[in-house]
Amino acid sequence: MQTHKAKRVEITIENVMESRLTDALRKAGVTGYSVLPVLGGSGRSGAWDRAGQVSRAQGMVQVVCIIKPERLDALLDAAFAVVERHIGVVSIVDCDVLRAERF
């Protein structure tokens, strides 16, 4: 089956920043993304888990974007501007996709 090279970017970020991130992505020309829930985790700012939340102040989500390789830099610039001062993680993986016209 015909596949095409692409990049898969996964950004783990606080709930409260989600809409700010996706707005920035959209402005940077990202045409698609999915948001996955995160139940808990641990990092430099300590451990947390969703069961411990009364407020939505602490939860995180994972935003996944699959994009054409040539758009990676624009995306990373946009993402970095949002996550810069916040906790969170950005990782990039090489992938192949079906139906490249969608990206």
Partner: protein
Amino acid sequence: MSEFLSLAGQNLLSPIILSFVLGLLASLARSDLNIPEAVAKGMSIYLLFAIGFKGGASVASYGLDARLGFTLLAGVVLSALLPVIAFGLLQVMTKMSRLDAAAVAAHYGSISIVTFVAATSVLEGRGIPSEGYMVAVAAAMEAPAILSALWLISRGGGADSKGMDSTLMREIMLNGSIVLLVGAFAIGWITGEQGLKEISSFIVNPFKGVLCLFLLDMGLVAGRGLRGGGGILTRGVLAFGVVMPLVGSLFGLGAGLMLGLSSGGVALMMVLSASASYIAVPAAMRVALPEANPSLYLTLSLGVTFPFNLTIGIPLYVGIAMALTGG
């Protein structure tokens, strides 16, 4: 005094407080007892809807007090003023950075609606009436404290703060709990006694039971916070978490007396001023002051001040309000 003690004792041994204590103990003992996030959120929606609706229906029944406008205004002023006092106290009592101090201060100007709900339930249990519009005052006190805290920071050189943008402003003013509280208040007001009758077997009868389960969850969360963030509580920080609500309650008392509220109204004004936010403000702080340490303000607000108000604060404030208003 003996009346206060008996009230305090009665309060401590109510199902509501004991449920909180159960949650606290369970999570300190690291039991895996937990209430699913969706269920906790569902219960908080229920509580906000019910308390708002009942407040509105009571305004519809007893008519609007001319004092409503002034009381709302007083609430806004208190919410904006208390962070400044809290900030000052924090700089005296603790070694917190200005940034952390401002973030903590914002929480103490704003309010905890569960503390308010618990106080209403104590008043009801003792048959002490209060102004129905106090729930509107509660809503009005949620946000000003945030602006006040951001102003404190920007004054000291704005580099720390991302400041306030219009998105954040909308998020704060239209946050779910404010909208639900005010909306339910309006519905209760419009539909009045008839509306209340239609749904009272949903929002009145089971109310206290739901509050028990909700406080069980609050206990679990507070316990987890203390387990994780307890190390952060130096003696000064801990003292602040107990002193600040007392200071706040005095301001509330002053305002309530000046406004000429009923005994119940004065007590609620004290409770609002004494309580610290743990929903709206933490979320706003994560956006506006991302470098401030969240476990500091969450542990203080939820792990120290909330239990203090729930167990000792509320009966104390009610006792004082009764004594000074001759209620």
